[in-house]
């Protein structure tokens, strides 16, 4: 095969400072790590970036995770694959591990990353609902310096994030679970499917608060604030006795989650279906999470459930 039309370079920094420098020097080169989003667009002729900034040759822990803040937070390097999240983080971030398991196929999970999900910022990114429910933060950096973006400020539009053009994602900080978490995802196929709708709930026992996240049902991943508030109030005195939370609360929670979504009709499903499905998913996820919470409370000698 003869050489094709000239294209930009593949830049392969080995250190983080080099990566930041190259990012600013080559704003038209696309950062690539697992490639599971970008290469699809390139192969289909949807993207023709002037070169690639390959982040897979980085040393210094880009593909490592660590516990920070006295073990309260998991700092996941931007190069950590979904497979490693499933294998290594199930005890610390169970919902994230569950979401990771629904990403594509083993081949995709071996390459794809949470940071890549974030960089693409698709409303269907499987990690996003969990990141929202967990109040994650995104570590980004450019020559101008590093900054920490709260997940609530990260998604600004369809496939559009708060990441500036000269910035790279270095890591994602996900608070470790302090209570039950659930993630569920709907697709018309039983494996390897893009979410028609997805949902995550996080019962943060330590801080006595409720986190939620909705995927594939709006222009961006969404938080169901009213649902969080309602459940937080319902749980106010019942964190140790969640068995007293009734079916009615779970239904209301489901309705509020559905109400927080702003889905559209597309090839993967109708807006009405997505809204309905979210109400069911949210109710079920909450029911399972409360059952887990009740079990934990019982084991720890809490109030009878």
């Amino acid at each position: 095969m003869e050489s094709p039309i000239a294209s930009g370079p593949i830049l392969r920094p080995s250190s983080w400072p080099d990566a930041i420098l190259l990012r600013s020097q080559h704003p038209d080169a696309s950062p690539i790590c697992g490639g599971t989003d970008l290469m699809v667009r390139i192969n289909f002729g949807r993207a023709r970036p002037a070169g690639l900034l390959d982040l897979t040759a980085l040393e210094e822990g880009f593909d490592c995770w660590e516990l920070i803040e006295d073990g309260r937070t998991v700092r996941i390097g931007a190069g950590v694959s979904f497979t490693r999240i499933i294998d290594e983080l199930g005890h610390l971030c169970p919902a994230l591990a569950q979401a990771a398991r629904t990403v594509g196929s083993p081949q995709i999970r071996n390459r794809g990353t949470v940071a890549g999900n974030l960089a693409t910022a698709s409303p269907a990114g499987d990690a996003h609902p969990v990141l929202l429910a967990s109040w994650a933060q995104v570590e980004v950096e450019s020559l101008r310096g590093p900054r920490l973006i709260d997940i609530d400020d990260f998604f600004v539009g369809p496939k559009h994030s708060a990441l500036d053009p000269d910035e790279l994602i270095r890591a994602v900080r996900v608070p470790a679970a302090t209570g039950p978490q659930q993630f569920a995802k709907i697709g018309p196929r039983n494996a390897m499917v893009i979410a028609t709708a997805s949902f995550a709930v996080n019962l943060d026992v330590a801080d006595r608060r409720v986190g939620t996240g909705i995927g594939s049902a709006g222009p961006t991943p969404l938080r169901a604030r009213d649902a969080e508030r309602m459940l937080g109030e319902a749980l106010a005195d019942l964190w140790d006795a969640p068995g007293r939370i009734g079916e009615r609360v779970a239904r209301e929670f489901g309705d509020l989650v559905a109400g927080a979504a702003s889905p559209i009709d597309d090839v993967r499903g109708s807006a009405a279906y997505r809204r309905h499905a979210l109400s069911v998913l949210a109710r079920r996820c909450l029911t399972w999470a409360l059952a887990d919470l009740g079990e934990a409370a019982a084991v720890e000698g809490g109030v009878e459930v």
């Binding site: 593949i10 392969r12 690539i32 289909f44 390959d54 897979t56 081949q107 995709i108 071996n110 390459r111």
Partner: protein, 157 residues
């Protein structure tokens, strides 16, 4: 751009690689290893599955430049001593090959599965091979082949 890579144990140094070229195209068109198949080029079918540094990937979603200095193993690299690998033989023996277009990717994915789990149950096989689409067989014979390969390895055949 030059790419230096080891493929199936052989070192290659290839010039004039296009920055946006996939590892799949690189293997097929520059190394001449066309066993790795190009069925969807979007990571949905698994026909292009290869190992990069021992990790199972879709080669269509890896940029050729990303394998600089790495080791790639393709379907052509799994056999030994002029014979096919037991996973490959099991696919033949179980009747798991029809048109065969998915087969090279299926071989590599099944090889990877059994390397990590020598005796997987049905649901594990189904989940772990769910990224490898087959349009001919309905998968039953592929499932049979994985168990056949596992059994033969278990009994030392």
């Amino acid at each position: 751009m030059r790419v230096n890579v080891t493929v199936n144990g052989v070192a290659h140094s290839v010039d004039h690689v296009w920055a946006l070229e996939s590892l799949l195209d690189f293997l097929r068109e520059r190394i001449g290893l066309r066993g790795t198949k190009n069925a969807c080029e979007q990571g949905e079918c698994g026909s292009c599955s290869v190992y990069v540094d021992g990790v199972l990937v879709c080669s269509c979603l890896v940029a050729a430049g990303q394998v600089e200095g790495r080791s790639v193993v393709t379907v052509e690299g799994l056999g030994s001593d002029g014979g096919v690998h037991p996973v490959q033989q099991a696919l033949v023996d179980a009747g798991a090959v029809q048109c065969g277009f998915c087969t090279p990717g299926m071989v590599v994915a099944a090889h990877c599965l059994l390397a990590g789990d020598p005796d997987p149950d049905d649901l594990t096989v189904r989940e772990q091979l769910s990224g490898n689409l087959c349009r001919c067989t309905g998968y039953q014979k592929i499932l049979d082949a994985v168990h056949m390969a596992a059994d033969r390895a278990g009994t030392g055949q």
